[in-house]
Symmetry: C2
Subunit: 306 residues, 2 copies
């Protein structure tokens, strides 16, 4: 793919602003450059500049300058607080042309996304709620899952831009906040599956069954889950590598419970799963790998080391 | 595979007794015949005879005759009650040669398996606790997962026999009952994953997100599970095909909770999941497809038809 195919396989959107060039954002922006988009990017860390320019990006010293002339402004920042600060305090929304759109790709609670989308709409810009899953690996290979919620006509225009970054682009609904909720529900399943794997190996341990044997069997049986296959071996390792910490699931499952409360939808399994992650955090292990939710079960039965 | 390879790829065990030639057992026995084993089989239903003989099996009119001269006697019966009746009341154990072994492949609670194995050992025969997963499809293609628990020397002798029926043969421990427990734990994960999928689509439904879109996304994301991929679409169908009923999980998760209580291992997620299946059974839908655990969540929020 070269930067020459400017007019193939994408909408009339040519100019992209991109704020948040971290481990994921830098790779997503690089794919936009490779597809021929003119990308003006900014990051609070000035050291992000060299790598971005190497990919063909145009560096913006101030965040609001990234929005100048953009058809879509992508926000791949850390949290909702940064997104609001940039849009409403740092002048980014005012700098964005009137007919353009904001694409919020950071993971944020649905209620916050709804609030931001209303403020953006009030300012006369369109809004795409578009969280991703797939992590740094998915960002690097442009194989992210993207869960977009926005009006149909906005989605039609934004789709080619999103497809430059992910190969599984879903239009999940027309109301911003629905994309964030799908991401939230994704985390509900991940958290419950991980705690269930811990419950399974812990029950086996009480009968002296080797947990690695269980992981091997369940990885290829009807009991399998993506989380069990990915985290199973780390669950029973002594000092596992940390790819995502216990406290991330305390937070993410907290967002699930908040969403359930707001929507008046009971989520009993998610509530129990969160208690298990919270227990491990309370043991002082909030920063260890999330596979260590098994420590909550071990503590309950006081079977150390299993 | 032909019946000529009598001496390849298996132990000195040549004669197999096989009781229980139902939808799974008949296919498992056929694979033993195809591998060159001399299989004497019996089933309470005389109509099983013709198909069994067609595969090369030798029909036994009485259950105990299946055990005559057998190196291993396989029990693929409906439940633990049938297994005990056959072994201890119908004379099957007495008919089995002293140096031979009983292979219990039916799904039974671990505590019952322990009790049977002790009685078999007391009678001087060896015992293999070897439940399977994979269903009729796995039985037909000899791709069952087999979870065997028995002494090492017994496993060495039984392994080729088991490998004729399954391609994933695991020796999970040396104490009979451990195999049954692994199968129990498999069902813990299946039941929790299924209820979690229902919880996920129900939370989405409260925000008007199309459940089929959720199933599509989660089938290929980090939220995926075997159960979600297999049952997801049936969960949201009007009158889904029944491959396994709600009441099966009420029973199987009941076995999980009993095992946890016996082993003093808390299983909070399994306990919540069982309540969800039980609720649907209480609604009068114990015989509908297990994917309909979603009806428990629908009932809680009174959102009919979603």
């Amino acid at each position: 793919m070269t930067r020459d195919n400017k007019n193939s396989d994408r909408s009339e959107a040519n100019n992209i602003g991109f704020i948040g060039l971290g481990s994921m954002g830098s790779r997503m922006a690089a794919h936009l450059c490779a597809r021929g988009y003119r990308v003006r990017g900014h990051d609070v860390r000035a050291e992000a500049r060299a790598a971005f320019e190497k990919e063909g990006g145009i560096w913006a010293d101030a965040a609001k300058d990234a929005a100048l002339g953009a058809d879509f402004l992508v926000l791949m920042v850390v949290n909702v607080g940064q997104a609001e600060q940039l849009l409403f305090e740092a002048g980014v929304l005012d700098a964005l042309p009137k007919e353009s759109g904001v694409v919020l790709m950071a993971t944020c609670p649905a209620a916050d996304v709804e609030r931001i989308s209303k403020a953006v709409a009030k300012a006369g810009r369109s809004f795409v709620d578009a969280p991703v899953s797939g992590g740094v690996a998915g960002a690097a290979s442009a194989t992210l899952t993207i869960m977009a919620a926005c009006a149909n006509e906005t989605f039609a225009r934004a789709k080619p831009v999103l497809q430059a970054m992910g190969d599984k682009v879903h239009h999940v609904g027309s109301s911003p906040g629905q994309g964030a909720l799908v991401k939230t529900i994704n985390q509900l399943l991940c958290g419950v599956h991980l705690a269930a794997a811990a419950e399974a190996v812990s029950l086996g341990a009480q009968a002296d069954i080797d947990p690695q044997v269980l992981i091997n069997i369940f990885s290829e049986s009807s009991a399998s889950s993506w989380m069990l296959r990915d985290r199973g071996s780390r669950m029973i390792a002594g000092e596992p590598q940390v790819t995502s910490a216990i406290d991330i699931f305390v937070k993410d499952l907290g967002i699930v419970l908040d969403a359930g409360q707001r929507l008046k939808a009971p989520t009993p399994l998610a509530s129990i799963a969160q208690q298990m992650f919270l227990a491990v955090s309370g043991q002082g292990f909030g920063q260890v790998d999330d596979s260590q939710v098994v420590r909550a079960y071990r503590a309950m039965t006081s079977v150390s080391g299993r």
